[in-house]
Every structure is written in structure tokens, then in C-alpha cells.
């Protein structure tokens, strides 16, 4: 397979395990996002692929050729990879054009660097120095520099988090288009689920050094592998219950399918705030408004529901903004509710 492959890669820092028997493949032309909280091992994985960390066990392949395994490792400069960091790491003592030409051989480098700069729309800024550019422009120079030597694999470490929120979406789309035109295998590290869903063909959700779930953004969002995966994409109300004799789970907010678990099993029921919908009086479950806030596109409304313990949060489309104390009826969108066996590791 052309592209990047990890085979049973394990990495320790002292006694702490950073990456735990990781198997992952990124095909040429594909964008895979490593998604997870800080410390989950995603950046270590990327640095292993780049050769910036020495591989301890397992193997890493680029275009079916081993670049690192127990027998040794190619240094980063021999791997034909492109790297992009959150801080871009432009060389401050070199002009923009020289930065882009840095990775090219002698001779034809200036023309090629100029072409690469033209591609990111900065053809006229070649003589500027990095500090004279805006954050978005610096990001594009970093992209041009990494792409100019035509890498087979692009490795990106939080490449957009240095950017202003308004600029970020635009730069993401441009970057994606440019990456697609090169056909490189792209591994992108991020802690932002929305960014992962926007960029990735496939997402590898990591936790404590392991890939918890691997799949398309749609499958990760709609069919999370466990409660942690569900929570990572969106906050959720958690209700603890047991599977009834009929295989179903009864909660104060409604009845759900028991997900095939045996009767009597303790379960966590995750209900996303968007799953709660106001309905006409007499339908659904009665609830009393505790607090409400208009947040823009949504309103955040917190309800007291008999038997549910703590308040239940719901996201409701405006213009509905009920006053505290108001009585309402709520029904559940079962597509955004998940039932998992309660292993006692969720929030109390």
C-alpha cells in the first residue's frame, strides 16, 4: 500500500506508556486525523512517523518500505516527509522564498520555490521575512515549504490552532484543496473534534496511547464505540440505570433500547443536549426550567426532571427561550442517545 503505515508501534517515556501497540494506515491521498485529549499519544505518534523520536518497538513504513523498525531507522531527512507545526517553525533569518527553497536541491530551487509560493497565493511576498507576515500567511508559507520537495507523507501537528477563529475555516479549506492535489498521505494531529470532522477522511480517536475508534467522521459521531468517545465529540447528560427484564432501559427522560445487554446490567445512558426537544403539553416528559441562556445559534436550557437527579441540559433552537420556573414537555431523539455498559469510569 502506498502511504504511511504503523505496525504494532509501542513507545514509552520512562515508565509511562505514550503509544500502545498502534496499528494504523494512511493511504496516499487520504487525510487521517489523530484526535484526542492532550497526553493521549497523538503527537508522539506523529513524531515517530517523522523520525524525531527513536522508535522503540514495532515498525513504520512509507510506501511499503520500512523507515523504522527494530533493525534501525532512517533519519528524518531521508524519509521524504513534510512537517507542519502549530508555530510553523519558519526560519527567521531567511526570506520567505529562501524558506520555501530550503528543502529543494541546488540549481532549479528558486523557480520551484516560486511555483510553490504561487500555489499558496503568496507569489509576491518571496522577498519578505517571516516576521513581516500575518499568521495566516505564515501558515501558508509553512505549507508551501513543506510541499515544495513533494513529500510522500505530510505530517501536521495542530497546524491551525495558531490562527484566528475567523481565518481558520478559510485556511483549512484552502489547505485541504492543496493537499488533495499533491496525493500525499496526510496525518493530522488535533485535539479539536470539529476540526477533525472538517478535515478528515477518517478519524483515529486516541486515548492513553491506544486507538479507541477508527472510522469516518460520520461513524464516530453517530456510532461512538464507548461512552468516552461519545463524550469527546459533544458534552452529554449522563444517567445511570439498569437494563430491564424486557431488554430495555427506562430513564426519567424516556425508554431506550438496551443495546443488546443482558437484563440487570448497569448502564450509562448518554443523552446529547440536542436530543432533548420541546413538544406539545401532554406528550413526552414534564420538566421545569431551572436556568436558560441564549448562546446565539442555540439556547442552552437547564431543566429539573423528576427522578433525574441533577439538572438536565438541552440545546434548543431559538426563538424559544423559556423563563426559569416555566413548565415544559420534552421528548428524546433516540439517534442522539447512547447506552453503554457502566464500567464505573465515567463522571460521577
Amino acid at each position: 500500500m502506498s502511504g504511511l503505515a504503523f505496525r504494532a508501534v509501542t513507545h514509552h517515556f520512562g515508565r509511562r506508556i505514550a503509544v500502545d501497540t498502534l496499528d494504523l494506515e494512511v493511504a496516499a491521498g487520504e487525510v487521517v486525523c489523530l484526535l484526542g485529549p492532550s497526553g493521549c499519544g497523538k503527537t508522539t505518534t506523529l513524531r515517530l512517523a517523522a523520525g524525531l523520536e527513536t522508535l522503540q518497538s514495532g515498525a513504520i513504513l512509507i510506501d511499503d518500505a520500512v523507515v523504522a523498525d527494530a533493525g534501525g531507522a532512517l533519519p528524518p531527512e531521508k524519509r521524504q516527509i513534510g512537517l507542519i507545526f502549530q508555530d510553523y517553525a519558519l526560519f527567521p533569518h531567511l526570506s520567505v522564498l529562501d524558506n520555501v527553497a530550503f528543502g529543494l536541491g541546488r540549481g532549479h530551487s528558486v523557480a520551484e520555490a516560486q511555483t510553490a509560493l504561487d500555489k499558496v497565493g503568496l507569489g509576491d511576498r518571496g522577498r519578505s521575512f517571516p516576521h513581516m507576515l500575518s499568521g495566516g500567511e505564515q501558515q501558508r508559507v509553512a505549507l508551501a515549504r513543506a510541499l515544495a520537495p513533494r513529500p510522500r507523507v505530510m505530517l501536521m501537528d495542530e497546524p491551525f490552532s495558531g490562527l484566528d477563529v475567523r481565518l481558520r475555516d478559510k485556511v483549512r479549506d484552502e489547505t485541504l484543496a492543496l493537499l488533495a492535489s499533491t496525493g500525499a498521505a496526510v496525518l493530522l494531529v488535533t485535539h479539536d473534534p470539529e476540526e477533525a470532522m472538517r478535515m478528515a477522511d477518517r478519524i483515529a480517536l486516541m486515548r492513553a496511547g491506544r486507538v479507541v475508534q477508527l472510522g469516518t467522521p460520520e461513524s464516530l459521531y453517530n456510532r461512538p464505540a464507548d461512552a468516552g468517545a461519545a463524550r469527546f465529540f459533544a458534552e452529554a447528560n449522563t444517567i445511570r440505570a439498569r437494563v430491564g427484564a424486557d431488554g430495555r432501559v427506562e430513564t426519567p427522560l424516556g425508554v431506550l433500547s438496551g443495546a443488546g445487554l443482558a437484563a440487570g446490567t448497569a448502564v450509562e445512558v448518554l443523552i446529547r443536549p440536542h436530543a432533548l426537544r420541546p413538544v406539545a403539553a401532554g406528550e413526552g416528559v414534564a420538566a421545569r426550567v431551572a436556568r436558560s441562556r441564549l448562546l446565539g445559534a442555540d439556547s442552552l436550557v437547564e431543566f429539573h426532571v423528576d427522578g433525574a437527579g441533577a439538572v438536565v441540559s438541552a440545546r434548543i433552537a431559538p426563538p424559544v427561550l423559556p423563563a426559569p420556573g416555566a413548565e415544559m414537555c420534552l421528548s428524546l431523539d433516540l439517534g442522539q442517545c447512547f447506552v453503554f455498559e457502566d464500567r464505573g469510569d465515567g463522571p460521577k
Binding site: R47, P76, E77, L83, G103, A146
Partner: protein, 539 residues
């Protein structure tokens, strides 16, 4: 390789430490009965005096220029560094010349009063209190430098919080600012004390018997290397104690950065009378530590009894022959060690680099002993062997060569270059290394194309600092130089010791003049790199 290098430069220090474990001869027994108590008492008094003096002047002036507004404050802010350019022994020559019986001060006194020499008592500069005064005047900038930085960094928000909780401006300083700056004061004083412990020129010239003077005398006067090494080991122990104290103070200082916000200080404006007091408090150390001695030296150097130009050029050439190669080598080695460490070193490697970087704290006299003992042993063994087998005398092959002196300088000053180069390396973020490597450049190519161009200024500064330190260095040069090879510092010392102060003025002044360069660099670096400086300029 970096590990090997680092260990190589740690060797002399290890040699001296090991000497403490070898049994000493009769001389040592004799020394410890007769002069050792005096060495200890004098050294302790010197420490106490220098400690109190530098703490008072350094902290006081630092507080005045950071927290108060008075005429001349901006000038004092950097001028207070100036005495750093003057080696204590040069100051000693200048004040001896000024306050001597035949000097201008006593002369003026006699002219004014009509007394004769026997009619009055005048304090003797060449005494323990005199030595303390000389060292306080040139070493207080260490305390000033570090304490001022601490005041600038820590206190804006904390002090303002104190004010809202009901402290007066002075109360806020006394109850918050000063306690928070205490680790910085301790650090500065320990650095000043290390310098004072290592001082040789002043105490030797003033005939105050401290450890360094004792090492020199035992080595050359009694010709007893083992006892000299024992003294050196004791001195090393005292330095080690100070280093631990300094490390502890720094460790604590880390907790004191509770805020990352920096804002320009609102300075107290002083009443006219207090303003005059503040002005005097800042002007006096500068005048006494720099202006007066520099002027006196200048007048003598230009006078009839000044050194002949030809002789001066010879000594300058000798000095350059030592300082330039040392500076270049030190910077090269520092780059090698720093980059090696960055490429990833094992724990023992890091420890070795740390030990090699410790040399700066070790007095030159101690390093000289640490090098000369093994070298002369080797030379004598080789000489004996050659004589026995080939009937040829090789004499002293290694000791007393320029190479040996430069090695001693490198041991002592590698740390200066290393720290500066490290600071420069930090400007190159690890991500830049990674970017260069991923773009197909090997480690050496990356060093050449990315690190070195970005660190040019640091490399220059490192070289300059080593150059100036070598120019000032006295004890190691005196003990190790080739026969009849006089540097500016050595010649100044010899002439002053022969009471030919006017002739000593020219080389002394040259040392001070070159010493001013890094002071200027330092004050400029501080002005631009100060946290909050940019906001201050905008706001």
C-alpha cells in the same frame, strides 16, 4: 564525543578534589598549625564584609532605579553596571596610589592643614577592610543585576494587590517586594562571594592572607604542590557550599513567578530632598567603583612615568595571543557541547556537560593547581625516563606552555561561552530543527544553515565575554605562563607590586577599557529583553 569533551574539561577540578584525599606531608602539618587559621579567619571576614556590602548597595540601588523616579534614574540604570568592568586588583592599585602617604589625597590634606606625616592618622587602604571595600565596589553589580531583574519581573501585580489591601507604597515594598526578591539577592550575593573567594590580585597586593594568596605562596614560595592542592581543595569546598546555596535560592525563586503579566511600573516620585539622597546613593558607587579609579589611571598612564609604548604593545600582543585563541576555541567547544546536548544526550552526558560548565565558579588558582600537578608529574616522569634511556633531558615539556595556559582558561571560562551559546540556541525552537531535518538536511547541515546564522550575535557575545575574562585573569596566568611571557594583567600586577603604580596604570586602564564592552552589551541586552519593555514603550 560531547561527553568525552565535557569530562576532559572537568578533569582539573576532579584532580583538586582528589588531592584532598591524598595524605599530605610535613609542610601541611606545619601550615595547618601556623598560617591556616589566619587564612580561614581572613577569608571568613572577607566573605562577611563583601556579603553585607554587596547586598546593601546592590539591593538598595536596584530598588531606587526600579521603584522610584528621580533625576538621572535612566542613566543610573545602566551606569550602575560600570564597576563590573574594573577588576578588583586594578581598583586596588588605583586607590593605593590615591590614598598613599605620597598620594594626592594625603598631600592635599597636609597642604590644607599644614600637618606633617606624623601628625595624623590615615586609614590604610592596604588592609582587610580595604580589600573588602575594593571587592564590594566592583562586585555589587552582580546583586544589582539580579535583584533589579527580580523587582522588574515579580512585583507589579503583587505590589498593586498590596496597595489595594491597605499597604503604603513603602509598606508594600517592605512587606512584599523585598521578601519576594530575597532569592534574587541570595543568588547575587553568592555570585559575588564566589568571585571574592577566587580573587587573588587584590589580597596578594594588599598582603591579606586568604586562601588564594596562600595557595600561590605555598606553590611558588614553599614549592609544595601537595599542600597547595590541599588548600585548593578546601577552597573548592567553600565554593561548592556557595553553589548549593545559590541553587537552592534559584529553586525557590521559581515559585515566585505567580503572574505572567508585565506592566510598566508606576514609580514613586520622590520629594526633592529624597531625590538628592537617591541620586547620591546611586552616583557614589559609580564614582568610587569606576569614574575615580578610571580617571586616576588615565592621568597616571598619560604622565611622564607611564609605560613606554613599545613595552605596552608587547604585553598587548601577548595578551591577544592568549585571549583570541581561547575565545575562538571556547565558542567552538560551546557550540559543540550545546548542539550535542540538543541532539539528545544520555543522563551521564548531561551531567558531564554540567560539570564542565561549573569551571567558572572555580578560582583560577585552584584550576592552575589542578592542571599543573598532573602536568608536572608527567613532565618529570618523561624527563627522567628519557634521561635514563636516551640521556636526553626533555625538561618541562607541557607545563609552562601557552597551550597549558589556554587549557586552564578553557576550563575556567568554557561555562561563560556555553551559557551564552545555550541562550542563543534556545532561540532556535526544536520545531525548527525538526522542520530542517524533514526538509532533507542532516544534523551538521542544519547546524550550519539554521543554527549558526541565527546565533551569530550570541556567538559574538560569547567570544567577547571570554576574551574579556581572559584579559582580566591573573592567578592562573601568573602560575602557568611560559617564562618571561607577560600579559597586561601580569605586568600590571608585577609593576604594582614593585610600587611602580604609574607604570601599572596603562595596562590596567587597557583592561578596564576592554572590560567596558561587555558591560555595554549587557545593559543593551537588558534594555531590550526586559519583560514589559515593549508595552512600556507603547503605553
Amino acid at each position: 564525543m560531547a561527553v568525552g569533551l565535557a569530562l576532559f574539561f572537568a578533569l582539573p577540578v576532579v584532580m583538586v578534589a582528589a588531592a584532598a584525599l591524598t595524605p599530605a606531608g610535613e609542610t601541611w602539618a606545619h601550615l595547618s598549625e601556623t598560617v591556616l587559621p589566619r587564612y580561614i579567619v581572613n577569608t571568613v571576614w572577607l566573605m562577611v564584609g563583601v556579603g553585607i556590602g554587596t547586598a546593601a548597595i546592590g539591593t538598595g540601588t536596584a530598588w531606587l532605579v526600579t521603584m522610584c523616579e528621580f533625576p538621572g534614574r535612566r542613566l543610573f540604570e545602566w551606569a550602575l553596571f560600570l564597576p563590573m568592568a574594573v577588576p578588583a586588583y586594578v581598583l586596588a592599585y588605583a586607590y593605593t596610589g590615591l590614598f598613599d602617604v605620597a598620594g594626592p589625597v594625603q598631600g592635599l590634606l597636609r597642604d590644607l592643614t599644614g600637618w606633617s606625616v606624623r601628625d595624623y592618622w590615615f586609614p590604610d587602604v592596604r588592609s582587610l577592610p580595604g580589600a573588602i571595600a575594593m571587592m564590594v565596589l566592583v562586585l555589587y553589580p552582580y546583586v544589582y543585576l539580579i535583584t533589579r531583574a527580580a523587582f522588574l519581573e515579580q512585583s507589579v501585580c503583587v505590589l498593586e494587590m498590596g496597595r489595594t489591601l491597605g499597604c503604603s507604597p513603602w509598606g508594600a515594598f517592605r512587606r512584599l517586594g523585598l521578601p519576594l526578591a530575597r532569592p534574587a539577592v541570595v543568588t547575587g550575593v553568592s555570585l559575588a562571594l564566589m568571585e571574592a573567594l577566587g580573587d587573588f590580585g587584590t589580597v596578594q597586593y594588599f598582603a591579606v592572607d586568604t586562601f588564594t594568596a596562600g595557595i600561590f605562596r605555598t606553590w611558588l614560595g614553599l614549592g609544595d604542590p601537595v599542600s597547595a592542592a590541599h588548600l585548593a581543595a578546601m577552597l573548592l569546598g567553600a565554593i561548592g557550599f556557595l553553589m548549593v546555596a545559590e541553587r537552592l535560592a534559584r529553586g525557590r525563586a521559581r515559585f515566585h513567578h505567580t503572574t505572567t503579566r508585565y506592566r510598566p511600573l508606576t514609580r514613586l516620585s520622590l520629594s526633592p530632598l529624597a531625590g538628592v539622597g537617591a541620586w547620591l546613593a546611586c552616583a557614589l558607587p559609580i564614582a568610587l567603583g569606576f569614574l575615580v579609579p578610571a580617571t586616576a589611571l588615565g592621568v597616571w598612564a598619560l604622565g611622564e612615568e607611564g609605560m613606554a609604548t613599545g613595552a605596552f604593545l608587547t604585553y598587548t600582543r601577548n595578551t591577544l595571543a592568549l585571549a583570541v585563541p581561547t575565545a575562538v576555541l571556547a565558542v567552538g567547544l560551546a557550540v559543540l557541547l550545546g548542539y550535542g546536548r540538543r541532539l539528545g544526550l544520555s543522563a551521564p552526558g548531561r551531567a558531564a556537560v554540567r560539570i564542565a560548565a561549573m569551571g567558572y565558579a572555580v578560582p583560577g588558582a585552584v584550576i592552575a593547581v589542578g592542571i599543573l600537578v598532573p602536568l608536572s608529574t608527567f613532565d618529570n616522569a618523561l624527563d627522567a625516563w628519557m634521561r635514563e634511556h636516551f640521556d636526553i633531558s626533555t625538561g618541562l615539556l607541557l607545563s609552562g606552555t601557552v597551550g597549558a595556559v589556554i587549557f586552564a582558561y578553557l576550563v575556567r571560562f568554557l561555562a561563560v561561552a556555553f551559557n551564552t551559546v545555550e541562550a542563543g540556541l534556545e532561540k532556535v525552537t526544536p520545531n525548527m530543527d525538526a522542520a530542517a531535518r524533514s526538509l532533507g538536511r542532516g544534523p551538521l547541515d542544519t547546524l550550519r544553515r539554521v543554527h549558526l546564522p541565527m546565533m551569530r550575535a550570541s556567538l559574538f557575545t560569547a567570544g567577547l565575554l571570554v576574551f574579556v575574562d581572559v584579559m582580566k585573569e591573573l592567578p592562573a596566568t601568573l602560575m602557568m605562563r611560559p617564562f618571561n611571557f607577560d600579559t597586561l594583567a601580569v605586568k600590571a600586577h608585577e609593576l604594582a607590586s614593585d610600587e611602580r603604580l604609574a607604570e601599572a596604570a596603562m595596562p590596567s586602564l587597557a583592561i578596564v577599557a576592554v572590560g567596558v564592552l561587555p558591560v555595554i552589551l549587557l545593559s543593551r541586552a537588558i534594555a531590550t529583553s526586559r519583560p514589559g519593555a515593549a508595552q512600556g514603550a507603547r503605553g
